[in-house]
């Protein structure tokens, strides 16, 4: 069955142009920081900026904590739903879709209104605000983490594994951490990478909770500088690429991951 090949190539070319032109232009722009010559000056300036490093490390720390608590919450829950409450699965799936329905800006508005007044008053000190921030990040990353773990659990025989472990005398903790978790390594890692990518690029939550994260730093830089933002965009594109590549490698391309904080 041979059909004309013109249109598919045409659409592909159009897509490629749309995809690459902004990247190439940004790349070129980022090299222009020095007059009349291409240089890596913009990159140098970005990397030497103390705030760049401190805000990046802050976001990295928040991301890792989010992943830690997210995994501790989601893996046992999803496991339990798979094992004992399969009838609740539609409900859980609906719950994990909620972060898609509630825009982040609405989420942060609710967080601030709820936790800034008595009896909570959590926005007064940095440490308690960070708890809010991590909570918010957990909500945002819930769909991605849940979906990865769910796919991972579906791929194995949860019931047999549990029963085998139980008949060998394992308690729940042992089952979770020494039987289920090792089998979920890829799934958890995939979800964790996505979560990390989302948290590091996230603007809205950190900005309104007034924490020195990477997203607000980038936005501020964009308002005050000309060439450095372009360099940042290229670097962040590289990071997205690395994260996607790792996920692709880990899952051998079986899972197309979708999402991000726009």
């Amino acid at each position: 069955m041979r059909r004309r090949r013109f249109w598919p190539w045409f659409w592909l070319a159009l897509g490629a142009i749309y995809f690459f032109v902004p990247l190439l232009a940004t790349g070129e722009f980022s090299l222009r920081a020095q007059r009349d010559a291409f240089s890596l000056l913009a990159y140098q300036r970005v990397l030497q900026d103390n705030q760049f490093i401190s805000s990046f490390l802050f976001s990295l720390r928040m991301g890792i904590l989010t992943i830690l608590f997210g995994v501790l919450l989601i893996v046992p829950t999803t496991y339990w739903v798979h094992l004992r409450l399969p009838r609740l699965r539609p409900l859980v799936e609906l719950l994990t879709l909620l972060p898609f329905v509630i825009p982040v800006i609405v989420l942060v508005f609710g967080l601030i209104r709820t936790y800034s007044s008595p009896p909570f008053r959590m926005t007064t000190t940095p440490a308690t605000t960070d708890i809010l921030l991590i909570g918010g990040y957990m909500v945002i990353s819930l769909p991605y983490l849940y979906r990865s773990v769910d796919v991972g659990l579906r791929a194995m025989d949860v019931r047999s594994l549990t029963e085998a472990a139980q008949s060998l005398g394992a308690g729940w903790g042992t089952i979770l951490f020494r039987v289920i978790m090792p089998n979920l390594r890829t799934a958890v890692l995939t979800g964790a990478l996505l979560t990390l990518a989302i948290v590091i690029g996230e603007l809205t939550l950190a900005q309104y909770l007034a924490r020195p994260a990477f997203g607000p730093y980038m936005a501020l830089l964009g308002q005050n500088r000309a060439y450095e933002p372009a360099a940042l965009a290229i670097m962040s594109f590289g990071m997205t690429w690395a994260a996607m590549g790792l996920i692709y490698f880990l899952t051998r391309g079986q899972q197309a991951q979708i999402g991000g904080g726009h």
Partner: protein, 252 residues
């Protein structure tokens, strides 16, 4: 939720909801819906055509793997960095703007501006159409070869095949994904904020302004704005899951 119906002393009121009918708020909702609609439809069509090209369009197999990977990256490349990329491409001093100017086309004197509706839509499309590709490619794979062969054996033309067989099967998932794209754009804040600096009135930007309290601070209004958004989003997700169920009948 309750906050939207509470006055300053906590009494029940519909004031905040009726405040939503103020001119600039309606305008913000209109802007948001417009941007989301346009990018959902255009991104949806374009993404569908690309997905078609790489699945059953007869392109070599490595092209498909490449496009899917690029789409995965592009749909995740959003927010502030995406805005930066478009500013350095099509902004006032952007590279492409400069190139076109030296070729005799002055974009900005012809009324184009990256910081308005057109520019925002163009930027949103960058994460919209890859999402469509990612979702549509498996759906297009689900079209069984036998259906096409059967229709050809019965003497149908290519057009008839698309009109009477492929389209009715694909339509729910096409529309469903477009609804998803709509929601995707509707809730977007970071990209719009970094691109326009908060000058273009979108619902998300307005809520942000209510939180920061730099314009007529009124938390009740913020709640009401938020409720309005959630209602629209809930409606679109409802549509999505309904269409999803319809498309699952055929695409397994």
């Amino acid at each position: 939720m309750i906050g939207a119906f509470q006055g300053d002393e906590g009494q029940f009121t519909l004031q905040h909801i009726s405040d939503l009918s103020q001119r600039f708020i309606l305008q913000a909702y209109r802007n948001s819906i417009q941007v989301s609609l346009v990018t959902a439809v255009v991104g949806g069509l374009f993404g569908f055509l690309l997905a078609y090209a790489v699945t059953i369009g007869g392109l070599p197999i490595f092209v498909r793997a490449m496009v899917i990977t690029f789409a995965g990256v592009a749909s995740n490349f959003a927010g502030v960095p995406l805005a930066f990329a478009f500013i350095s491409t099509l902004g006032r001093t952007g590279v492409l703007t400069g190139l076109l100017k030296s070729a005799g086309v002055n974009l900005y004197s012809q009324g184009f501006s990256l910081y308005t509706f057109a520019g925002l839509s163009l930027t949103y499309l960058y994460f919209q159409f890859p999402l469509m590709i990612l979702i549509m490619a498996p759906a297009l794979d689900g079209l069984k070869r036998e259906w096409r062969e059967a229709s050809e054996n019965l003497g149908a033309t290519g057009l008839q095949y698309w009109r009477h067989i492929a389209m009715p099967i694909l339509l729910p998932s096409i529309l469903g994904t477009m609804v998803l794209l709509f929601g995707n754009a509707f809730g977007a804040y970071a990209t719009a904020y970094a691109l326009t600096g908060g000058t273009l009135d979108l619902v998300t930007i307005l809520i942000g302004a209510q939180i920061r309290g730099n314009v007529l601070y009124d938390p009740g209004l913020g709640f009401a704005l938020a409720i309005g958004m959630v209602v629209i989003m809930a409606f679109s997700i409802g549509m999505y899951s309904w269409l999803q169920r319809r498309s699952e009948r055929w695409l397994r």
